[in-house]
Amino acid sequence: MTATETRSVVVEREIPHPPEKIWRALTQPHLIEEWLMKNDFKPVVGHTFNLRGDWGGVLDCEVLAVEPNKTLSYTWNFSHDDAAYNLSSVVTFTLTPTRTGTHLRMEQSGFRPDQRQAYGGAKAGWQQFFARLDELLAKPE
């Protein structure tokens, strides 16, 4: 793993609605609440806000980029007493018009450098762990 490498999650979906309408759902607090979480969002770069989950967790966020109907980006940070659960990431929504609606892409990226060690090995995912499990179980302690 190189020093500059970060892990990210990308979720993409074709949505049969125009970008302008999806943009409203992404940027109006009462609509954001309906699909994501309670919030005090404003589509203004530099605005800090919280997303409040049903489970009681609170995410600390700051708007990084606003390009109406095209791009929205904000930080998505979670602090936990146990550093292993801390999360420092950036969420970016990209809207691209298509003939039938919109291609919506969400990318969530980033770990703080000090998290790489804790999560480093998780990069390969469960499959590799299980593939190695038999081998490990055969080793004496």
């Binding site: 999650v9 699909w35 995912g125 190695r132 179980l137 302690e141």
Partner: protein, 107 residues
């Protein structure tokens, strides 16, 4: 330094040790004596398993008088949690909600 996953898997590979860890996860803090009764092995054997769990960071001990209480440290399992697949599942679910919302916005 051994890989964190190797240590965790090796530590939890032993069924007796895993049972002790699972009991601490489900039932909270317990003494060696209480664990020994349930584990159906000798107290030195339970203590040895707890030592291995402790070295792997999976349990923490707390001394109170002559008793030592052990508790599970779930944070030690963090390296096994695949952060990306959890978040991908989260966003897929949220996008389902988003699509439902967009349909309602038509009306």
């Amino acid at each position: 330094m051994p890989n964190a996953h190797d240590v965790l898997f090796r530590t939890l590979a032993d069924p007796t040790r895993r049972a002790i860890f699972e009991r601490l996860c489900h039932e909270g803090e317990q003494t060696v004596g209480a664990l020994q009764v349930r584990a159906k092995v000798s107290q030195p054997a339970v203590s040895k398993h707890l030592g291995v769990l402790k070295r792997a960071g999976l349990v923490r001990d707390r001394h109170e008088g002559r008793q030592t209480h052990y508790s599970a440290q779930l944070g030690a399992l963090a390296p096994l949690i695949d952060w990306t697949s959890q978040m991908a599942g989260f966003w897929q679910g949220r996008f389902d909600h988003l699509e439902d919302l967009l349909k309602r916005m038509d009306q």
